[in-house]
Each structure stands twice: as C-alpha cells, then as structure tokens.
C-alpha cells in the first residue's frame, strides 16, 4: 500500500461499485431478474407474501445485531453480525419485490418521494401492517435462548426457502436460491451452539433448556396457512407452511436429543396471528427504535 494514494480518491467521484461492501452498493437489487408477475397470480397476494417472508428477516436481524459489542467472544459478534447481514439482504430483496408489485400499504403516503420502496416499507409501516411471526419478534433472552430461537427460525426458513426455489414467481425463486446457502449456515451455526450449551456444563444445560421451553410455544402458529398463502400455494408460487412441519420438527428433535435436552411437547397448530398483523407489545417497541430517525425526517436522503 502506498501512503500517498490512500486519500487521493476520496473527494473524487465515488460511483465505482468496487468501493462498496457486498450488497451495499447502489445497484437495483432486482436488476437482471424477470419481475413479471406470473399468470393467474394476484399481485396483492404476492406482495403480501413477500412482506411475510421479508418481515421475518427484517425483525430477526436487529435482534441478532443486539449481540454485537455484547457477545461472549469476538468471533461470535462477527458470526451473528454475518447472520444479521444475510437476513437484512433477504429482507431488502423481498420488500423491494413487494414494492415492485405495488404492495406498499400506507407507507408510500408517509415516506418522501426520494425514499426507495424497501425503505418506505421498512420504516413507514405501522406495527399492524407487519406480517412477521411471533417467533422472530420475541425478545432475545440470554445467549442460549437467542441461539435456540435462531436454530428454530433458521430451520423453519430453510425448509420454506428450499421449496420456494421452485416457485412460479421467478423473483421469489431467485431470492430463495440465494437464501438457502445462507440459511444452511445459520442453522448449522445455531445448532452447534445448542449442542455445546446443552451438553456443556450444568449451568449451560439449564439455560439451554429454559431457552427451549421459552421458544417452543412460539412454533404454534408457523404451520397454518393464511388465506393469502393458501391461494398462492394453489397457484404454485408459495409453500403451504403445513408441509414443512415434519421436516422442522425432525431437525429440531434431533439437535435437542443430541444436545441432551428434554423435548417439550410439540405445540398444537393454532391460527396465524403475526402473519395477519396481530402482534404483542414487543413489536411496536422494536419498531420505535428501528423507525424513529427515518420517520423524523421523511423528506431526507440518506
């Protein structure tokens, strides 16, 4: 490295994409992908489904980010930041897809004209317009509960994305194809921690079991389709969530058993609530932190 050159280009034009971290450039994230809505598919349904999958990632990412500067090891801060970055990338693509088919809700009336759709949707929707599951909204708890929740969420999402690679929507198929590699890593990383904690010390076992007991009830509404999912499944676009239940359960049972943890009763399926915009108080609290600055400056450019 030459000392003289480090600064030289700073105040020159900064259009070169090579200057930016992966996924943080100015390119349209959906550039080059066919964004035509498949025949026979209601764009409103497709956009709503993208919000469901996008909001899960959008809300889980900051939960994981919370560990950066607070984790047991620096390596774990890097790892959880990586997982959060992957999820953030997935959320951006899915929200952009929802925007591209015109599903913007009230957000577009609040956000300034220069704000891209992904940000209008992330920052200018109210909690009742969010479609995320309770599993990702729940607070972190301790490190064990955080990793148990990540294991459950990654296992569920990987099962969905694996099937979505065959979606008739080419955008969803492309997002899923990219996401499965990421989610396989997330599941592996979380699974290894659950093994270490479950089969580590008496204290870590106690905490891991408490984490499992806290997270398991949140699985109850993951496997019942909303009307939107049912229609899109029939159209070959979405995955019926009921069809991933056995795979999710088998993976989680195996990890818990190997981790010497007690398997709680598998919760009975209940009707979806988060997917319909019904959330407890944790989501408004989180969104207050995430959205406050952007909402205070709706005409600003960042």
């Amino acid at each position: 490295m030459h000392e003289e050159t480090v600064y030289d280009a700073l105040d020159q034009a900064h259009g070169g994409e090579g200057h930016w971290a992966f996924g943080t450039g100015f390119d349209d994230p959906l550039a080059g992908v066919d964004t035509t809505v498949p025949d026979g598919v209601d764009p409103a349904d497709l956009g709503t489904y993208c919000l469901m999958l996008g909001d899960d990632a959008l809300v889980l990412a900051p939960r994981l980010t919370r560990w950066v500067t607070r984790a047991p090891e620096l390596e774990e801060e890097v790892a959880l930041a990586n997982v959060a970055l992957d999820l953030l990338g997935q959320a951006r693509l899915l929200l952009a897809r929802a925007g591209s088919v015109g599903v913007l809700g009230r957000s577009r009336t609040l956000a300034g004209g220069t704000i891209p759709d992904e940000d209008a949707l992330a920052y200018f929707r109210d909690p009742d317009e969010f479609r995320c599951a309770a599993l990702v909204v729940a607070p972190n708890g301790d490190f064990a509960q955080t990793l148990v929740r990540l294991l459950a969420a990654a296992t569920w999402r990987l099962a969905l994305f694996s099937r979505l690679r065959d979606s008739r929507d080419p955008v969803l198929a492309a997002i899923a194809a990219k996401g499965v590699n990421e989610l396989a890593y997330h599941r592996d990383h979380a699974g290894r921690w659950v093994l270490r904690l479950g089969d580590g010390t008496a204290e870590s076992h106690r905490r891991a079991q408490a984490g499992v007991d806290a997270v398991w009830p949140l699985l109850a509404d993951l496997f019942t389709a909303t009307d939107v999912e049912a229609r899109l499944t029939a159209a070959g676009v979405a995955v019926d969530p009921a069809t991933v239940r056995d795979e999710v359960r088998a993976v989680l049972d195996e990890v818990l058993t190997r981790a010497t943890l007690r398997l709680p009763d598998w919760p009975a399926d209940v009707a979806p609530s988060g997917r319909l915009g019904r959330h407890g108080p944790e989501l408004p609290a989180l969104l207050g932190d995430l959205q406050g600055l952007a909402r205070a400056h709706p005409e600003a450019t960042w």
């Binding site: 490295m1 000392e3 480090v6 600064y7 280009a9 700073l10 105040d11 900064h14 200057h19 930016w20 971290a21 992966f22 996924g23 943080t24 900051p62 980010t65 919370r66 950066v68 500067t69 607070r70 984790a71 047991p72 090891e73 620096l74 390596e75 801060e77 890097v78 930041a81 990586n82 959060a84 970055l85 953030l88 990338g89 959320a91 951006r92 929200l95 704000i115 992904e118 940000d119 992330a122 920052y123 064990a144 093994l195 270490r196 904690l197 089969d199 580590g200 010390t201 204290e203 870590s204 932190d289 995430l290 406050g292 600055l293 952007a294 400056h297 005409e299 600003a300 450019t301 960042w302």
Partner: protein
C-alpha cells in the same frame, strides 16, 4: 564474560543489524524485552481501540435510517471486530494472551484511543467518524504497514485497506446528507464541530511530551512523529472539508504559503489528559459494556470449553 552473555551480545547485534537494514523481525527471532513489551503495549492498545470503537457507531445499528445504510454500518462494525481479532493475534505471537489483554482493558490497566470516549449523538456522527476518525487512524496506521515487526506490519496492510473503505463510506454518507435537507446539513456541521478537535488528539501528545516515541522510532515500530502525522492529517482534511461544504471549527486554520502546510489553533491538551485518564463523557459506559460481555456470558465460554474437552 560468560558464554550466555556473549550470545546475548551477538543476538543484540543481529537484531540491531536487522532493524538497521529495514528488514522484519519475526516471532521466533530474538528481540530485546523492551521491544517485545513495547510492541505488546502498542498492539494491544490498537486492538482495544478497534473493539471499543465498535460502540459509538454500533449504537446506531438499530436506528440506521435506511436499509442500505444499516447494511454498510453493520459490515463496518463487523470489520472492526475482525481488526481487533487480527491485532490480538499479532500480540499473541509475542507471547501475550487475548483473555489477559481483555482483562487489562476492562481493569483499565491498558488504554485505548481517547476518541471513542465521546458520544455519537446523531446519524451524521456515523459519517464523521468514518471521514475524520478513520481518516486520522489511516494517517497513523499506513506507516505501520512498514513496522519492523512482521506480523503487525502484515495485519496493518489489511486493516488499512478496510479503513480506507470505511472512510470513503463515511464521506459518501456526509456528501449525501449535505445534499439533503437543511436539518441534515445542520447535523453534519454539528458533528464536525464536535469531532474535529478530538480527532486531532488521536495522534497523541506533542512530540516534546511523548515519552515512548524516541525508542519506538529507533526500533522501527513507529515511523513518524505525532506532530508530523497530525500535520499531514490537517493538510489532507482541509480541502476535503471545503469540498464537502462544512467549516472546521478552528478560526486560526490557515494555509502558510511559505511551508505549504495549514497552521491550526492550540489543542486543549488538558481535555486530552482528562479523557485518556478515564474522565471523558463515555469512558465508564464503554468499559462497562465489555465487562458485561465478559462476565455475564462467562458461562457460555465455560460451556464451550467443557464441551470441547469432552469431545476432543
């Protein structure tokens, strides 16, 4: 003279010749204790600065006002953790232990850059930290790519590349904000007003009051004096501030036509001493965060160790 003493003389001569020839000292080479412990102190202080430096910007990770800015910031804070890890590893090649260095940070027996004891109050601070703080760090660190100690020099090459990238991202955020609303422009100017003087302090005390500098220069673990680097930083930053459209908060700042360098006002060294001495706005908070990360999660590390022993 005993044989052992004779060996030491030979080893010292070989070490001196290596330094004089501008070659690198490697971990298994003989080195004087002063060189070893001076380097551990310097590298640990640098590593601690990276780790503590994650906090002022990390405090904006949740509130980052666009998803793209959030991704950029998260990647940057993650890079800083990576820099800390490289640097702790470089210190370990000298016989130090990362956990012990972390304990010394938390017990305030080793220092970190005083700049990270200032709060980040608005999102413009994220941009200004990238432009000015990372910019000052680059001025300090690029010469260290030629450090006489091999592992440190090699770590610094990668660190500097990433820092340069962060600086561009910070400056680009500020350019964007300056092209935004009046409120955003005011935020940028306010952040520049708060960070400019502390950034000048990042180069350390003036040369006539820098106790470790002379020996470090002789050993090739420091390449330029504090005041030389500070002047270089000012000379680089003034045109950048003009291009950006902000005013640096120093009425005495002016170009000296004879030397070609910018003259600048007196730095408040009493403030520097206060902050480095533990009494800045955020010292307690920064250390408390790392202490909690270590103590509240000790059970995790114990579990991982127990599991590894069980299955090794």
């Amino acid at each position: 003279m005993t044989a052992a003493a004779l060996d030491d003389v030979d080893l010292q001569a070989y070490f001196d010749a290596t330094i004089a020839a501008g070659h690198r000292i490697e971990p298994r080479d003989w080195m004087p204790d002063g060189y070893r412990f001076g380097l551990i102190r310097q590298i640990a202080q640098h590593a601690h600065s990276e780790i503590i430096g994650m906090q002022p910007e990390g405090d904006w990770l949740l509130a980052a006002p666009s998803l793209r800015r959030k991704a950029i910031l998260l990647a940057k804070v993650q890079d800083e953790a990576g820099h800390g890890m490289y640097l702790y590893s470089a210190a370990e090649t000298l016989g130090a232990d990362r956990a012990d260095l972390t304990d010394k940070l938390i017990e305030r027996r080793q220092k970190y850059s005083s700049i990270f004891n200032y709060p980040s109050l608005t999102y413009a601070d994220v941009g200004v930290i990238g432009w000015l703080v990372d910019g000052a760090a680059i001025c300090n660190q690029v010469p260290l790519c030629r450090s006489s100690y091999g592992p440190y020099a090699r770590a610094m090459i990668r660190v500097c590349k990433e820092e340069s990238f962060h600086q561009r991202q910070g400056y680009e955020l500020l350019m964007t904000m300056m092209g935004g609303t009046d409120a955003q422009r005011a935020m940028v100017q306010d952040a520049v007003d708060r960070w400019w003087w502390p950034s000048l302090m990042m180069f350390g005390p003036p040369d006539d009051d820098s106790p470790n500098s002379a020996q470090s220069m002789a050993w090739g673990i420091k390449r330029h004096s504090n005041d030389e680097l500070r002047q270089r930083y000012v000379d680089m930053s003034v045109p950048q501030a003009e291009f950006l459209g902000v005013t640096l908060p120093d009425p005495e700042l002016s170009l000296d036509p004879e030397t070609g360098h910018y003259r600048f006002g007196a730095i408040d060294w009493a403030e520097f001493q206060r902050v480095i001495g533990g009494h800045g706005p955020c010292n307690d908070e920064r250390i408390a965060r790392r202490r909690a990360a270590r103590d509240d999660n000790a059970w995790v590390t114990e579990a991982a160790t127990a599991y590894a022993e069980k299955y090794s």
